[in-house]
């Protein structure tokens, strides 16, 4: 059907203005807390597509709080084993430990080689697995979103329906997920209390509940936010946030990081048969 024609110059002005406005709209900086204008491509069932291989770029694995560079716990490794400086991922900077828990954290830090579950190749827990410096893969379906991690081949199953309470406690926790518009919201509980948040001894109890939000912010990164609640350890809930970046190499894939063999002497060495006199 023929449209009424605008006068030529007016049409060009309208087009230029509309184009300029749309460019400005796309590049408007996202204020924190506001919905991102980016909308991820959809999966076949109409949800934001979070499939892919992702990785955090942060020094949180060493210490989730802001921290300066420091000597590492294995001096023989020199600079290669030092703790790199980091801005941390904790909103507000410091963790709100209860007094007794702050003392426990200090003890954890002083004895971290002996106590850090990562050293023994134990499953890293949630959220620590999300910001370890290795790729992880998201495999997303309507009923289950699986997350597979390089370290110790840890697996998280996020149940998108048939939500239930954790039948028993676990290292990675029991995760129930749902969609909130563009954001995947995951509630995780049922922790066994044996995981840490980082290599600095920051820890939690079995009462921990984690609420995560995953929001695609560009084709190649997600905004990851998590609220941590543990009234046995902290005086109030606290929050972390960091981007997760897509691994863009062609044929990017998870390789096997089976670390049990690297930890066996540490765990079982004291029970080895000693050579007889």
């Amino acid at each position: 059907m023929p449209q009424p024609q605008m006068p030529g110059r007016l049409a060009r002005w309208v087009l230029v203005t509309v184009a300029a406005a749309s460019v400005l709209w796309q590049s408007t900086p996202v204020a924190s807390g506001q919905a991102s204008p980016y909308k991820a491509p959809r999966t076949a069932d109409g949800r934001p597509n979070l499939n892919g291989i992702w990785q955090a770029i942060t020094e949180a694995s060493w210490d989730i709080e802001p921290h300066a560079a420091a000597q590492g716990p294995a001096p023989a490794l020199g600079a290669a084993g030092a703790i790199p400086p980091g801005l941390g991922i904790v909103e507000g900077g410091r963790l709100p430990y209860l007094p007794g828990a702050a003392e426990q954290k200090r003890k954890n830090f002083e004895n971290r080689i002996a106590l850090d579950p990562e050293v023994k190749c134990y499953l890293p827990g949630t959220p620590r697995a999300m910001y370890m410096p290795y790729p992880f893969q998201v495999i997303q379906t309507p009923k289950y979103i699986m997350m597979v991690f390089t370290f110790a081949r840890a697996v998280r199953t996020i149940y998108m329906d048939d939500h239930m309470e954790a039948p028993a406690d676990s290292w990675m926790g029991w995760s129930n997920g749902r969609w909130d518009g563009e954001t995947l919201v995951v509630d995780t509980a049922g922790f066994n209390g044996m995981t840490w948040f980082d290599r600095a001894g920051n820890f939690h109890s079995e009462a921990l509940r984690v609420t995560e939000r995953f929001t695609a912010s560009s084709p190649n990164h997600l905004l990851y936010e998590a609220t941590l609640e543990d009234p046995k350890t902290f005086s109030r809930p606290w929050k972390i946030s960091l981007p997760l970046y897509r691994r863009l190499e062609p044929n990017a894939q998870l390789l096997e990081f089976r670390c049990v063999e690297f930890a066996e002497d540490i765990i079982y060495g004291h029970l080895k048969k000693q050579p007889s006199q």
Partner: protein, 136 residues
């Protein structure tokens, strides 16, 4: 027909042998077949973990002292599929446990039989406390 049957039953022995028995070797290294024990105690905690679950129980000795024991049981994974949770077994549940003592001299044993005070065997050695499990 008789000949075929004989072959079938002979084959049966091998089929049954397909049941993996290697696991028993590790168990007999952990626990002592020469030291059967029978304990009566109450549940402190059922650690629902893998590869084997562990029942922490308080055993009252004849002298009145209460001693903590750890008793090895099976992986909880199939029970979880049948609806068993960490709330199924109440703290304080009384058991009789027949089993074998650990070789390392500590208060540990493998639980060959877990028997409740009413004589039922725990979970599927009878009917599970708190409801019948669904059998596949």
């Amino acid at each position: 027909m008789t000949m075929n049957r004989t072959i079938v039953w002979a084959g049966l022995g091998v089929l049954l042998a397909a049941a993996p028995l290697a696991a028993h070797h590790a168990f007999s290294a952990e626990f002592d077949v020469q030291k059967p024990i029978k304990l009566t105690g109450s549940l402190v905690k059922w650690e629902m973990i893998n590869p084997h679950s562990w029942f922490h129980i308080d055993v009252k000795q004849p002298d009145g002292q209460v001693v903590r024991w750890m008793i090895e049981g099976g992986s909880p994974n199939q029970l979880i599929r049948l609806g068993v949770t960490k709330n199924t077994l109440q703290v304080g549940t009384e058991f009789v446990i027949e089993g074998y003592l650990a070789r390392d001299g500590t208060n540990k044993a493998v639980g060959r039989n877990f028997i409740l005070t009413d004589g039922r065997r725990l979970f599927l050695g009878g009917s599970a406390p708190g409801g019948d499990p669904v059998l596949k």
